[in-house]
């Protein structure tokens, strides 16, 4: 028992504490190097010089997604990371189970699309706007609207607990999607809104920075993520953050101790929603085209999986989780060719497609189960939550 604990501590020392023990300049330098590395991620040359033995002429690059554009995949990871960070505030900090988080993404994306597209019905049919607005102006509006929808949803529903809240939020996301799909007045359903505006800026040679190339979008989303991280960290360490933790651990006790629980839960909801809306507006700025198809419920589930896979309540965990849920399936697309894996097998006259592209969600699902069994606290857990879990594990029922 004792040796086990000591070992565990040593393991911890190796990873996190050793970093914390470094002098401050060294820590900052390490962080800067790491961030620079992140900006380099979409560069193909980076993977070619990783030092893994790659046979000459092979199309394979370790970690590089050859089946899908790397910068594009990273951009997707980026806005999922933002979503995970937003949901992490709601779920990880305040402990509110939100199954419909993608609804806020939709609010953000549609706001941007409606205001920036020259083909938006606000311009062509209703003449509310003279001309499309620039993307940059619409982002704060999108965030504000997402925040507002968070408050409007939270106000009546946050009195519900746990699983009831889950189904209500799930309903909310589904309603947003169906409304977007069903009505032709503004959002234009499945036909969607084309020619959505892009972020501003041109290269010295006059070409737009934000056009079809993904790398600039990735850099943009990465910058936004870093800013959001600072914001959330400060928030989590403030009075608000402490109130959230108190609510998560025991809502009744927190209320008795004088924490206005409802107010702080609403704050968590609104802030989470705002980040979700921001993510949606970034995506719309890239996507060129927004229609109701994108906002299916599975996406909300994926974001939830991201947060819990990474470790609820931990910023690092949310980032890792958001990265994995997108990157892993995309990466698996390119793996099959490499191993000479057969794409089809025939069992008793039935043809079964066994290519990794087709089975990638089976693999992903299995991974979710395995991680939850062996690391229920998530891959990169929040320390306090991990400790809570350790306590729980000791309380296993007597008979089992």
């Amino acid at each position: 028992m004792t040796t086990e604990t000591v070992k565990k501590q040593r393991w911890k020392l190796n990873l996190r504490d050793r970093f914390q023990d470094l002098p401050k300049p060294a820590r900052i330098a390490a962080m800067v190097v790491f961030v620079v590395l992140l900006y380099l991620l979409p560069t193909k040359a980076f993977y070619e010089n990783l030092g893994f033995p790659i046979p000459v002429g092979s199309g394979y690059l370790p970690f590089y997604t050859t089946g899908s554009d790397m910068a594009g995949v990273l951009f997707q990871c980026g806005y999922y990371i933002l979503l995970a960070l937003g949901l992490n505030v709601v779920l990880g900090y305040a402990g509110l189970l939100d199954l419909g988080f993608f609804g806020f993404f939709a609010v953000g994306a549609y706001t941007v699309a409606l205001l920036t597209s020259p083909e938006s019905k606000l311009i062509t049919e209703y003449n509310w706007l003279e001309s499309p607005w620039p993307w940059l102006v619409t982002v704060p509006i999108a965030i504000a609207l997402a925040m507002l929808s968070g408050v409007l949803l939270g106000w009546p529903t946050l009195r519900l607990r746990g699983d009831y809240l889950a189904i209500v939020t799930l309903g909310f996301a589904e309603i947003i999607r169906i409304v977007a799909k069903n009505q032709d007045w503004i959002l234009n359903g499945d036909r969607g809104i084309p020619s959505v505006g892009h972020p501003p800026g041109t290269w010295p040679d006059g070409e737009a920075i934000f056009d079809l190339e993904f790398t600039p979008y990735y850099w943009l989303v990465l910058t936004v993520i870093i800013a959001v991280i600072f914001l959330i960290r400060n928030l989590a360490n403030s009075r608000v953050g402490r109130a959230w933790v108190a609510i998560r651990e025991d809502e009744d006790a927190a209320e008795l101790m004088g924490v206005p629980t409802f107010k702080f839960k609403l704050w968590a909801f609104a802030i989470g929603a705002a980040i979700g809306g921001l993510s949606g507006s970034l995506w719309a700025g890239q996507a060129n085209f927004v229609n109701s198809n994108t906002f299916s419920l599975e996406n909300s589930i994926l974001v939830l999986a991201a947060v819990l896979l990474g470790g609820a309540g931990s910023i690092g965990g949310a980032i890792l989780g958001g990265f994995i849920v997108i990157y892993l399936p995309e990466w698996l697309r390119s793996v099959g060719d490499v191993f000479g894996w057969p794409t089809q097998v025939e069992i008793a006259g039935i043809h079964i497609d066994v290519s990794p592209t087709s089975l990638r969600f089976v693999i992903f699902g299995a991974l979710l189960i395995v991680v939850m069994i062996y690391r229920p606290q998530g891959l990169w857990p929040n320390r306090r939550r991990a400790a809570e879990l350790k306590d729980r594990q000791k309380e296993v029922a007597p008979v089992e």
């Binding site: 699983d163 969600f361 069994i373 008979v399």
Partner: protein, 316 residues
């Protein structure tokens, strides 16, 4: 808004709503049973149901009936249904128990918090749905019509079809059977004991592991029954049919008060009716919105559902 349709079609809408609601109720029972005992949304239950539809399809296929067959006579049809009920419910029950053994039991041993179960369940649901998708090439498959297609009776704009009646009757019968099982038998007592206080029940000598496995088996069996009637009603199945019906059934369970067996029945039937009337009133593309709005409004006023949570205690 189309009141004409609603008034004119009211009797028919009621029967279709009740038939659909019976299926929701059967699936909802699975959610409610597991929730009552484990406080866990068994996210993979929808896929258990989906496997049931395929089990029914394959059973009929082996017995020589596919979507192109002509309708058999009543006796054969009943026999086919009976066989498929047995096969599909056993198959679904087996899948449900397998999910429990692989995705939940290891977590229970570690006393993981409910959210961890939820993610594991989502993982299981991905695996099951996508495996079936790969196996069936994601193709939609037709299912034969078995019961006679002529109305059982038709009077004054009200028609009732044999299948609708049978679905409703079987759902009620299964429901009462389950109620009796939980209320009167030794196993049922074990379920109620674990639902009330798992640790105390374990100390009193209830084999908790076995009770939980039994609960999953029961949920699976019911999902299998629902799958057979669903298959006959909808006449087709696909690898992704589970998600939507699972969502509806879960909503039905919440509507009636999750963890409450009778609540699942009431919630299921109510949801079926609401959807049916709502679709006539607003157009059937609004069905899901109507269902959710009703759920939201109801939860505002009765936060624990229509009948409240009774299988276990109200949560602290």
């Amino acid at each position: 808004m189309n009141f004409d349709d609603l008034i004119q079609g009211f009797p028919d809408l009621t029967t279709t709503g009740l038939a659909q609601g019976s299926i929701y109720a059967l699936v909802a029972l699975g959610y409610t049973l597991v929730y009552g005992v484990l406080r866990l949304i068994n996210f993979a239950h929808s896929e258990v149901f989906m496997f049931g539809t395929f089990a029914a399809l394959w059973t009929w296929g082996i017995m020589g009936y596919d979507s192109n067959s002509t309708r058999p006579d009543l006796g054969t049809a009943l026999l086919l249904i009976l066989v498929s009920l047995v096969v599909a419910s056993l198959f679904s029950g087996g899948v449900a128990m397998a999910v429990e053994a692989v995705a939940y039991r290891p977590l229970r041993k570690r006393n993981a918090p409910p959210l961890v179960f939820l993610i594991s369940a989502i993982g299981a649901s991905f695996v099951l749905a996508e495996l079936m998708g790969a196996f069936t090439e994601r193709r939609q498959q037709g299912i034969p019509g078995l019961l006679p297609g002529e109305p059982l009776f038709s009077a004054g704009g009200w028609t009732v079809y044999p299948l609708q009646l049978m679905t409703f009757v079987v759902a009620l019968a299964v429901m009462f059977g389950l109620d009796w099982f939980v209320a009167k038998t030794r196993f049922g007592r074990g379920i109620r004991a674990v639902a009330q206080d798992a640790d105390t029940a374990a100390l009193m000598g209830v084999n908790k592991g076995r009770v939980i496995a039994l609960v999953f088996l029961l949920g699976g069996l019911l999902a299998g029954v629902a799958a057979v009637f669903y298959s006959m009603k909808q006449g087709n199945t696909r690898f992704n049919v589970g998600f939507l019906i699972g969502l509806k059934a879960f909503s039905a369970a919440v509507l009636g008060g999750i963890g409450n067996l009778r609540g699942a029945l009431v919630g299921g039937l109510l949801l079926g009716l609401v959807e049916s009337y709502g679709a006539a009133l607003f157009g059937s593309n609004w069905t899901n919105v109507i269902a959710f709005v009703v759920l939201l409004v109801l939860l505002m006023f009765r936060p624990t559902g229509l009948l409240g949570e009774s299988l276990g205690r109200a949560r602290a």
